[in-house]
Amino acid sequence: MFDYLANPTRFMRLADYTVWPLRLIAAAGLLIGSWLGLASSPADYQQGDAVRLMYVHVPSAWLALSSYLMLGLASLFFIVWRHPLADIAARAIAPAGAGFAFLTLVTGALWGAPIWGTWWVWDGRLTSMLVLFFFFIGYLALANGFDRPERGARPAAILAMVGVLNLPIVKFSVDWWNTLHQPASILRSGGMAIDSAMLWPLFTMFAGLQAFFLLMVIQRMRLLLGQARLARLADQQEAS
């Protein structure tokens, strides 16, 4: 299947079919999810309306983490199988992933400040999300850090793979630190029990943001492929 999809033209054609469905799911998910999340769903009996931040924070965190893993996987494909579209996919994933990592950190802080009385705490999850964000920045800096753009592709791919291995280790080390420093027990990994009325806005926002993310990746891949094609044609023209 991957050989089949490796052909850029074939990929472009298949990608065309996914664009409109993704646009619709993204738009519908975001609109309905926003209405459900901000207006129609009830406030939490403990957290009040602050719980509404959960509907943007949790999907963002999922997207940050999953896009990071996708980046690692695409990089693996690029290095090991030299899959031509893999590098394009990685470059398409990175900016969106970095953005969602940033949003996770910010919405998490905004949620934590009124509810748990602190903007930030250095526990395993928050710290590894921060490191994940740093990693995305480092990846983008490396991939774009050479005078010739293609030169950065493989170093960045190596970095991405090392980064994926490193993240669980970072989380473990910070959790290890915290077992000895007795942090506030409020941030248990169990978290809060979710009322069924809250599942709808959460699910809808999830679907909307996930579709949006995939749409952005595909559109950006088409953008990068098209730019490469245009540049090649311009070179040919200049040569003739």
Partner: protein, 60 residues
């Protein structure tokens, strides 16, 4: 209606968080789709005229 904006006293937090998220989504969406549309029209005109405007190549 005032309650909607006040968000039970948490208005500043909720609206900043949601606002940043939706603004990010909107801007990224517009940015990507318009660039792609422009690129596609350039490719289209290239196919029709056989000429590429080498000075106006789009940036990533």
């Amino acid at each position: 209606m005032a309650g909607f904006f006040a968000m039970g006293g948490y208005g500043a937090f909720v609206w900043t968080g949601w606002g940043l998220t939706l603004v990010f989504v909107l801007l990224l969406w517009l940015h990507t789709e318009t660039r792609l549309a422009k690129l596609q029209s350039q490719l289209q005109s290239q196919a029709e005229n056989g000429k590429t405007d080498a000075k106006n190549l789009p940036e990533a």
